[in-house]
Symmetry: C2
Subunit: 592 residues, 2 copies
């Protein structure tokens, strides 16, 4: 059975050596001393290793069952959820007024990674609750906040998001679900939603569905969509639970993975709903939840890659097979461990350099959200808005590929379910799809985010890279190994952006044909920047004579691997982008 | 439910327009007129579409069950196998003296692709039989051939290959299975083999296991391994079936995919075995089977990519979602079909250009085997030996990635099992692992095949590419779009080979750190060559005024896509190779 150990030391390195959180001017960051964050991370790691990780294969094997309208979660999930609640892990970055601990988002992200790595399917129940609560927090009335948030903060009640219908996913303007005003401020919601994660289950007293629907007579298409709170049980004025609402689970989908999470067809039949935010402005409210969810999904890519990597390393050190071609390394054994072989190391270093780079990227992104929210900083808000599709698309594509590489290290044992590596791959696969398939992320990036606010945010990103290079290029240890490759990669990204500007106006397809490559190009530059920053931090730690030299030396070596072997992918992405629309658009649909 | 249509027109194009089989000097090729191969391919396509493809999800859902030592295959498999036997599809390229049809290998390959695409798990039962029969044909005594081959040709008896043991897969020198001579020419085989595909099932009267084992007292390690024929039922002198042999299935593995094939733990307990080939020369005999199997596995990569692509195209034309940014294409519908969107086309063209290039590569490879065997041509034998790891490794890695892309086109529907796209991905995953994990293929290529016979075969390959370019560069339609990119890619491959020569002698790890990239680099050059040859053939057809202009124009457009958007990957692979051993070998194992 696979195991999981929370990478606390690595997280601490990013928080303190790289991001220097306590020196930040973001309110609340000064409290994030290493001897505070350390124990929090250790405790989180403990419940992940001891409770959630052992349940991961159980969830995969048993799945969820729909019995007489009730969804049964896998053995042990209910007890584990109680332990998660008791530990306060659902409330970390929720406001104190609603029972949360009011910690910055960066801490929620650091801990969230561990939970996702240990058990993605399980963690989705609380992840969706968090997202729904955030939407209520941002767009709800005070009464709505008071009614729902305390219970959702503790996950006594869980949440869902309901967008997709059988005939529409990406194109929500086609939506058919209707919400009819009842004259008393409430609505009756009727329609069918599919792919509703955690839509129905036996682990919470109530489930608060956020449902997109159209109010009859409203504008056509996406402009006529509103968002509704539809609780499974109506909440009485005194906060107690009242009648069962007209919402039920019609079916649980059989999926490739995340079997432990109930993916439901939800039927709404004159269900009582309450408008969240304004009429016909449902997408705006839903995007509060969706942007958070997209970052959470990007984190899942990193998380699955990390747990798969950890197990692949253990196997590569343990499994004896073949001899080191340059000389036996394990003369007393029948063979050398797999890890002596260059190609096994190549596969492992692809994973390691991705995981550590992605973690830094993720936590930096979380700090931008904190800055945007706590310092009311529009530049930070614009930057994370620009980065959101990159984090979602790049980290889930790469994360999935890394689980495949980890599985490959096991040879045939990676393909049989007994060893658990197949589950990481199957679970990671969904992250490329949900919360907007990665092609849609690329479209969002190139079609919307790049030009947002006159292109100010992408220019700010380039400026930041340039400044970092300029500020550090006197350090010869950084220049050749880190800054020069970063400069080249960043130039590829700028050239690609230029190509879009010059060609995209005349022909949008010239830009959109390269959108997927642009997303990956951008992702590589971000990870290159993170590795340069980590290298700087590692050198500073070594210069300061910090103990654990091997830890910092390993960071440098892993970073050099990324800069040498992964970052040059930017040139390939640029070459494809520069080929424009013709290769992609020439064929008539009939000739595919 | 997904469907499958055999791409007969594309196969015919490769056989006749590209390879010009009837003009070949390979014995038997003159008979392969288009009006002979066409109906054979159509008939094969029919049984694949009508019988095997509908059984594919059934096999996935039901899997195989072990009941009291008997393995039950999924509903319908047994009847389907009878229909395959009745159609003579098991015997296409087996010698006529043993009941086969004596067709060239190229025809077996063309048809084999269809079978694998329609139902990989099912087709493995006959594929392994073919491999085992080939090993007996090449290394058996006349008596062994007469005893086993007629029944194996018809698949009344099926075959298996037994290499892996719990503690060793790649490193077979560690093998523990023992074969003790009984003095009467037979041996008693005892040991446990795992991951035995089609190891036990209910679809054949007998199962002929080819088992690697060590004869006590023989040389240590891999040099002391011999190959044995171990039938499930002992065959009497008159050909009738005698006693049950001491071999049994101990367990069926739960796997990520290919559920319809029984992957067995096989226990040998003083099972009667007969030496195949010479004592201690078992690996040589097994490699006859393994080389064939590796090509067959490469074909599976192509095949799964094709069936996944076919379904993705159908979905992309059917599913209405969003509008073409350059103007509505389906004004009477609520939205445009997915295929209008550039990024969907990008994903589909990645698949299409791979599948068609890979098919040409596969059939060209098969023609090399025919030339090697039928013309006793050592150069062809050397070339296909060099190509075997490329075909296995590159086509299965890429094939898998293409199934992932096809699945992605379906969005959330790609992740639920109902639509069948998940199965293609899960089934395709094994091809990267079995018959030598792809890292081992890369090692074989760089560590052994490149330098084989003084590097003669790789030089011949470069010469062939060079000659093709030289012979055709006067055609301006080929030069810029096809020959120039091919020349650049081929130069990258030569530069990489040069790097290995200059650095690999001093430090083998300098070469082995780049082995995986070299395998992919080589694969891209091969597909680039195939596309250049297909483009030439398409232009010739157009020049000759052949009808179906759209078919040939589509070939040219698809080829241009490959040359523009896929082939430039060679530069990235070269960059990684040129970085040598340091990035990969620096870290101590403890620091991973």
């Amino acid at each position: 059975m696979p195991s999981y150990t929370a990478p606390v030391k690595d997280t601490q390195f990013v928080l303190h050596d790289v991001l220097a959180v306590t020196a930040s001017d973001i309110p609340g960051y000064a409290d994030l001393e290493a001897d505070f964050t350390g124990p929090v991370l250790e405790e989180a790691g403990k419940i992940c290793s001891e409770v959630l990780s052992p349940l991961n294969p159980v969830g995969d094997r048993e799945g969820c069952r729909l019995e007489n309208g009730v969804v049964r979660t896998p053995t042990g999930f209910k007890d584990a959820f109680d332990r998660v609640r008791d530990g306060g892990w659902t409330a970390l970055d929720m406001p104190e007024e609603f029972g949360g601990q009011g910690l910055p988002h960066v801490m929620g992200t650091a801990v969230g990674e561990y939970f996702s790595a240990a058990n993605q399917a399980f963690t989705m129940y609380q992840g969706l609750t968090h997202g729904a609560a955030s939407a209520i927090l941002a767009h709800g009335t005070q009464a709505q906040k008071d009614t729902y948030l305390p219970k959702m903060t503790s996950c006594d009640w869980t949440g869902t998001m309901n967008l997709t219908e059988p005939h529409c996913g990406t194109d929500l303007g086609l939506m058919r679900t209707r919400a009819v005003p009842q004259g008393d401020g409430s609505y009756h919601v009727t329609g069918q939603k599919i792919f509703i994660s955690a839509g129905e289950h036996d682990m919470a007293d109530n489930i608060i569905h956020l449902v997109l629907a159209k109010i009859p007579g409203g504008p056509e298409g996406i402009k006529g969509v509103s968002l509704f709170i539809v609780p499974k049980f109506i909440v009485n004025a005194d906060g107690s639970l009242g009648a069962r609402n007209g919402v039920s689970c019609g079916k649980i989908e059989e999926k490739m993975g995340i079997h432990g999470n109930s993916t439901c067809v939800m039927n709404y039949d004159d269900a009582v709903g309450y408008l969240l935010g304004e009429e016909h402005k449902g997408m705006r409210a839903m995007f509060t939840m969706m942007n958070e969810a997209r970052l959470g999904v990007g984190m899942q890519g990193l998380a699955q890659a990390d747990v798969a990597y950890q197990n692949a390393v253990a196997y590569a050190k343990d499994r004896l097979q073949g001899r080191d071609v340059t000389g036996t390394k394990n003369p007393n054994g029948p063979a050398d461990p797999l890890i002596v072989h260059p190609d096994i190391r190549r596969a492992l270093l692809d994973q390691k350099s991705f995981v550590e780079g992605a973690r830094a990227f993720m936590l930096w992104g979380a700090s931008l959200i904190d800055r945007a929210q706590r310092n009311d900083d529009a530049a930070a808000d614009g930057l994370i808005s620009l980065m959101t599709p990159v984090i979602k698309g790049f980290l889930t594509d790469e994360g999935y590929d890394m689980t495949v590489r980890a599985q490959q290290v096991y040879g045939g044992h990676g393909y049989i379910e007994e060893w658990g590596m197949s589950q990481f791959t199957r679970d990671a696969r969904i992250a490329m799809i949900y919360e907007g398939a990665n092609g849609v992320q690329a479209l969002d990036l190139v079609g919307r985010k790049l030009a947002q606010d006159g292109g100010r945010h992408v220019m700010a990103f380039f400026e930041m890279v340039k400044t970092f290079i300029k500020d550090n290029e006197d350090d010869a240890r950084l220049k050749k190994d880190f800054l020069d490759p970063l400069k080249a990669a960043s130039k590829d990204l700028q050239t690609a952006g230029m190509f879009f500007m010059q060609n995209g106006m005349k022909n949008p397809n010239a830009a959109l044909s390269g959108s997927y490559d642009f997303m990956h190009l951008f992702g590589h530059v971000c990870l290159g920047l993170m590795w340069a920053r980590m290298a700087k931090a590692a050198l500073a730690a070594l210069d300061a004579g910090k103990p654990d030299v091997a830890f910092y030396e390993t960071k440098l070596a892993t970073g050099r691997y990324y800069m040498t072997r992964r970052l040059p992918a930017t040139a390939l992405h640029l070459a494809r982008i520069n080929s424009g629309a013709a290769p992609v658009m020439t064929l008539e649909a009939a000739n595919f």
